[in-house]
Point group: D2
Chain length 342, copies 4
């Protein structure tokens, strides 16, 4: 490893990967962007060209094996994650893998096992909420025990809009999955049953798409989580978590914080502020902190944050959620027995 800078290669330079590349190049301490790779090699070269001393490497696996790459960020589409994560494990490189770990629980479980077989954790999953300052403080407050046990959680997840190709299943896999991780994070428990209800859809939903959705989780300790996921809310990106405990409640993500103004409106005066336009505006800080925490942990030879197991569990819950979406009935979540993982 370089004297004091972690040399990072980024796989996949779509929206998320490009953001991460820029973050590493321009905002993180003790890390340096050294390489990018993407099946769209022209795009990889364009991104590499934005920064001094960054190479575009045609073959993703070459990037993983490159001696000048200390650590890898995987921001490629979910279906190719298994092969890429396995390569990183074999190369013994610290890896930050964007969610999902993989798109099916079976392959995710294979990665959990492969990492355990190596004997040393290397993979951090990209559930950035766990690094958002409000979620962090909420978790800290819950951990003090002052509020007693957590009983019920209500998550709100609203997006401004989406293309017609964003179908009901993707709402479960790509949006609800964040609330799946939040529920597991808040309770420190697994989800043992999921129900996905289909309200009459908004007129802004394409024909056949269930949007909004309401999902119910039952936790292994008996807690209940209700979730509203609404991808075409037209308003903006609003993510909130209300935790109800035995002796108090906590809310993270109230949109009514922040800059406040009154102004002359159309019809009358109003007070308030702006709802963030998208997840990048809302969670920019969480991404920065997530990647910096990852870089710092790499320097210490550790892995922090969500693990491959968290990635596997999230995928398994969403699989059950997809079955429930089809029927509206509760579906149990069958997780591998941790004890038998080796």
């Amino acid at each position: 490893m370089a004297d004091h800078e972690l040399r990072v290669g980024v796989i996949g330079v779509g929206l998320m990967g490009t953001d991460h590349a820029h973050r590493i190049a321009r905002r993180l301490a003790n890390a340096r962007l050294v390489a990018v790779s993407d099946p769209d090699t022209a795009r990889a070269q364009a991104v590499a060209g934005l920064y001094d001393g960054v190479r575009a490497i045609d073959d993703v696996l070459d990037l993983v094996d490159d001696d000048d790459v200390d650590a890898v960020v995987i921001a490629s589409p979910g279906p190719v994650h298994e092969e890429q994560v396995l390569a990183c494990l074999e190369a013994g490189k610290y890896t930050l893998c964007e969610k999902p770990l993989t798109t099916e629980s079976a392959s995710s479980l294979r990665l959990v096992r492969a990492e355990r077989d190596r004997g040393k954790p290397l993979i951090q999953l990209g559930f950035m909420r766990r690094f958002d300052p409000e979620y962090v403080r909420m978790k800290e407050l819950l951990s003090t025990g002052r509020l007693g046990r957590t009983l019920v959680v209500h998550n709100t997840h609203r997006n401004k809009d989406a293309s017609d190709s964003f179908r009901s299943e993707m709402i479960v896999r790509d949006s609800l999955v964040h609330e799946v991780d939040v529920a597991r994070f808040v309770f420190d428990e697994e989800i043992e049953e999921i129900t996905v209800l289909s309200p009459a859809p908004s007129g802004h939903s394409p024909r056949g798409v269930v949007d909004p959705q309401v999902a119910i989780f039952r936790m292994t300790g008996g807690g209940v989580v209700t979730n509203e996921v609404f991808i075409r809310s037209q308003v903006g990106y609003e993510v909130r978590c209300e935790v109800v405990c035995e002796r108090g409640t906590v809310i993270a993500g109230r949109p009514w914080g922040g800059l406040y103004s009154t102004a002359v409106g159309e019809a009358d005066g109003s007070w308030g502020g702006a709802v963030p336009a998208d997840f990048r505006a809302r969670f920019a800080r969480a991404y920065d902190l997530e990647l910096q925490a990852w870089v710092d942990a790499c320097h210490r030879g550790e892995v922090v944050g969500p693990s491959t197991w968290d990635g596997y569990a999230a995928t398994a819950v969403c699989e059950a959620g997809l079955k429930s979406l089809a029927t509206g009935a509760p579906v149990p979540v069958d997780l591998a027995d941790v004890a038998t993982l080796g």
Copy 2:
């Protein structure tokens, strides 16, 4: 009817009835408290003695038939409501009946029919939320159509504490029933299915009592309502309603409005305010407005606000909710066919 004052008799002078008696005597315009009645005649006499010119009448039915009583407030326990409401209908007197209309849907339906047979509505149900200024403004905003159709609602209903005799069933019948009415009010639709989930209870719940509860309603138009009801939250009385529409959302009852202070706390400084201690503090204004609206409507010869049908529907939903509480499974709500009511 007296020249300009509605002469009101109050049946039942427990907590709620005593409040209403005082409200009529001291805070309402164009109404006068003239009589009270209660099986505990000593208590009735004590309450009557607080105000000039108020009689305690031993027999409830005598109060209803008294020529000096223009209108009746029923604040007795639910099980005796059927007989008392019937007496009011027979006497042709305007009546404000505290919820529940009756304790079973069959008897409630009998009252709906009895009122229709008389040909002229006389009964207003005591769902005071419909008169709370924030709920009123929320309903007005929804009615403008600017936000599009209502899709999903999340209700929060927390109480500070309750005696051990307040069992799981009472949480459904006495607490959740308010959210049942709110859901019907917000959507202008019936509830066609209810599910009551049983989270692992708070350590402050007596053995065998399910508290908090999470209830799910499906509306006839396909909307979904999630409800958290927590009677022993330890904190205070917190009632909130978040409505999610096609082009915007509304929240009524945010506790973080109102008087705000910072102060030197135990461990550190904090900002915030006080959660209302109970429903009387939170809804004092709603009760005033509810009763004044009733008095004003009586003067005009009208009935406003929730009807016997609203009382019947709420009771029927809670009956289904009790069945669901036992199993955790969805239970359909079977309402009488309005068309056949005559």
Copy 3:
């Protein structure tokens, strides 16, 4: 006095008097509107005609002396208050006098003396803020002593707009006067010096009118109050009071409480609520509570709320404020010596 209803006559049926007449007729308990009087006799007859059994009396002083009038509300213009209040004192009738008591401190002081000479207080001044629930709770919180002594106060007073005839002096007399009373109410002290600063005016101010204004009060105990008064803010009616104490702060009147919504806006989504359009919307409840408290006190034979002295002090401070408005320099407030009032 009638058996249980206070028979009230209202003098002056402009905007404010008409509101009060309606309030007494339709919203107050144990009070009855029996007479109105106004120099515009046609208008008085029109208002009287809205309610059963209300007479229009041509001569104001006849109304005061009428045997069927138990108590009087004065809502006429300030310049005629002295004569009318004196008549009420002579007739020995309880009186609620809208602010200002009179338009000059000399005449106000004559009324203070006249009332003291009679030996029994009869007059309540119409500073309704003292009955607004948030100001009341703020005062209660300060009175507990938990926050220590009050040191500094910042008042915000914004109105949506005003006609061009509302000049700089009227901003002091009619708007700032409320903050004068708030400062005296919060500190329980007199104002000993006032400075009125003239910021460069808004483009919405007529030529020669100073709007907004910034006023500074020094209290007799050494406290300092800063006030922003802005009558043509274009947005709405916003009245706030922030009190800074030795061990904490309090804010009454945060506009960001209350009903909350998000919605699709012009350019982007936003969260927030509506600023009240005017003082009648903001303080409707305070007026109701003020008049009910007055009626209840009349029944008990007492006077509550702000007194003629409070009215005199407010007028004297505003007189000094007008001098300061002309120069921008601090002007001392010379109040009569209470001890010599007799």
Copy 4:
């Protein structure tokens, strides 16, 4: 300059300098901490020892002249700033100088002139508020022109507590100075007159210390700014700015944003959150953004953010403020004529 990392030396490793050193070493991109210097050489060595490859240099001026130091952060006490800034100018090194620029306006003006004489700006002043995300968004919103001209501003500046050695003058120089810069930043104008009022002090103030203080600024364009500065508020660190414009208002720094909880309190339940303990908690993010902006600008060969002129003007306003503190009367601010600066 090194290939891609700015090599930074930090002068002064007290509280602020140590924070900055850590920030550069651990949180900033494209910068490296290479040297520290402090009269307390043992402390400098201790701080240097925390990071790999950082030298402690005994003589401050040696650090400035060191060939391996590309840029300098000055976090030493104000009285030694003039000599150090001059050395940086002579060495031609980009410099971030913590406020104050110097402790008297005469020496500050000498530095303004010295920098202009060199022909190329090198110095950024450490007014971090200008990099706080809320202040940035507020300024952006004002700059759109949608709210019209800025008319009046009210700043709130509260600190939890201070040692007895923090005297009245230091409240002006070290605390109010931030509001001086905010006023100039918000209006894009100079302050032409300052008044510092002395309310009766809090019981937590040492004998002879004026705390809280109320300061009034008049801007060159006629705007008025009121400021409350309270260093021993006991509660926490609360910094807020309310800007009143012709067609709307903006508030930055509302403490009631952020994480929200209810909990069982001493006497009753309450809602709210925690007030930040100190300026480092409140403005941690602003400091990060300030230093990253500085590093990025150095790489581009530019200077961004507040200038030596801003530092000079702030010092000159505070000098006038100290005179006003002694008398309570307005004191004009005499700034050098920019045109004659050469």
